[in-house]
Symmetry: C2
């Protein structure tokens, strides 16, 4: 095992790409070697020590191939690949195959290759607040039960159980991060139930119309639906940090960490859009209530106790939606998103 | 689909055998047809409408065979098969194959055959309090988080997540029963971490020595370890009842039910043994502290709020350990255990 080799699955995705660049720039890991894997070959960042791999991780040979590049066995795996929430809700069987089975195959490979090199591979898993559902307390704590009400959250929770158990048995060094909803995601709308959370900011800032699937108009009570959010920069910083948390810092019985976030309602998002970009931008938001979408998003919690995660050194956005909308507008103007 | 056909996996086990006899005797299901399946061919009860099947459920063909006996597709499946707790802790990979993968195969088959007959198959799953672990409240409620600290509990919880999700999607009609530790189990010691809970009663009542893996002597403070218990009769009555609970009676977000139980410490068990069978019986208990065993059993909760389960019509033992020890002694004398 090399000491500074990182494998990222789902590296072709937007978050995986951001993470790769952040790892390259991370002053604590100079010379990091990156193995970037996705179902379509990820684009390589402008950096020497990187291999890219096109791999269908439902194929065991493809899973093995990730561990047999010129960089050998990675010391850290970021497991980010998967079908997003709405996609796995609509394509249940495909979702199980990818979001459950292929993740388990990667966990198993991390165990095997870790055993063969005599070191614990850090297995950093992007989980989600979609694991929660049903009646919830006003504020979610590490003691709150997770009862998924959708295929995506169910699959994430199954993966978590394997990672916790493999970690407990000393087969991998798991770190499970339940990510808040990320706002603002750039690019075209994704197949995520939460895609609108970014869409209602991103599209209007570019003068484009967008559809809000929550509520039937700008004064709909449904817009009081609260969301649990983090910016892309904060999320990536926390993914990078996850590699550095000493094992002993985690609670002894679980490796689950709900990454820090903040609460905003859909209405507050729209108010931030209006504050930053004016009423004209707001007028580009059309409302078309989608019951399935609203049901799933409403089942997610919107308030968490950040104390445990902050104590582990993870970071949180300050100032709510306005600075996030402002920053995204600046990035659009600079052509970097 | 026939209206009164029950498939039991793990039917060769002690609990499966008791359940089969109880279903035959259940006045609410006269003429029940039984499909009894296990890795070794289960012995058939003296009853006409029964088929027995030897099946390794890690083989997909064997799973299909269960649905293609002369009784066709069952309306109810009791999924009881699996490797017990200590066995799956010591043989991790075999445990995953049987306790996770083969159960999922049966869930999937219930979905497929239910779809092909146009009816929801009731899928009754024997789960366990071993799903719990880590810091726990004094009394476990339906809102208490399950954080397994062993392979057995992890596997059960993974199965639960699939059953809940398949139920939510209308693919099966799942009923998940988290069983208390059953006392007194007859027969030879089982490969369960909790086997001693019955052993320290069963063996001495027959004049046989037994080993208690908790504590190093009769005055050890370790004997204050509390257990969550139910008798075989109560457990079987609750398994039979699970088939009769109307779907709408369950909480809308989960099919998990912690079956009612009562609390007793190892010390209280031994006191009940002494009360019923005298000091001579008690003297047959040797103490040999087993750290692994004690760690796993200590991670299980010992006090639950029974209200939800009782509200669903499930029943509970009254009077603690003494009537249970007395009844087991009577059954021994009658030669029925």
């Amino acid at each position: 095992m090399t000491e500074n080799t990182v494998l990222i699955t789902g590296a072709g995705g937007w978050l995986g790409g951001l993470l790769a660049r952040a790892l390259i720039e991370d002053a604590r890991s100079p010379g990091v070697e990156l193995i970037l894997v996705d179902i379509v070959e990820p684009s390589a960042p402008p950096y020497a020590a990187v291999v890219t791999l096109k791999a269908d991780l439902t194929d065991p040979a493809a899973v093995d191939a990730m561990f047999n590049t010129k960089y050998g066995t990675p010391d850290t795996i970021y497991c980010l690949h998967g079908i997003m929430s709405r996609g796995s809700e609509d394509n249940f069987d495909l979702g199980l195959k990818i979001n459950v089975d292929s993740v388990r195959a990667v966990i198993d490979a991390a165990r095997r290759y870790g055993e063969s090199t005599g070191q614990l591979i850090k297995f950093i898993f992007a989980s989600s607040l979609a694991v929660y559902g049903g009646p919830l307390p006003h504020v979610v704590t590490p003691e709150t039960i997770a009862t998924p009400q959708g295929a995506y959250g169910m699959s994430k929770l199954v993966n978590e159980l394997f990672i916790n158990e493999y970690t407990r048995r000393g087969l991998i060094d798991g770190r499970i991060l339940r990510l808040p909803t990320i706002v603002v995601r750039p690019g075209p709308p994704a197949a995520a139930t939460s895609a609108f959370v970014s869409g209602i900011i991103r599209e209007p800032l570019q003068g484009l119309p967008t559809t809000c699937p929550i509520g039937d108009g700008p004064s709909s009570p449904a817009l009081d639906l609260a969301l649990w959010l983090a910016s892309p920069e904060t999320t990536v910083a926390n993914l990078v940090h996850a590699r550095r948390v000493p094992p002993a810092a985690f609670a002894p019985h679980t490796r689950v960490v709900c990454l820090p976030g903040f609460t905003a309602t859909v209405r507050e998002e729209l108010a931030a859009l209006a504050e930053v970009a004016g009423a004209g931008a707001l007028a580009l938001v059309r409302f078309e209530d989608d019951a399935t979408n609203r049901r799933v998003v409403s089942s997610w919690p919107a308030r968490f106790d950040n104390a445990y995660a902050l104590g582990l050194g993870f970071v949180v956005n300050e100032g709510g939606m306005v600075p996030i909308v402002r920053r995204f507008r600046e990035q659009l103007a600079a052509g970097v998103v």
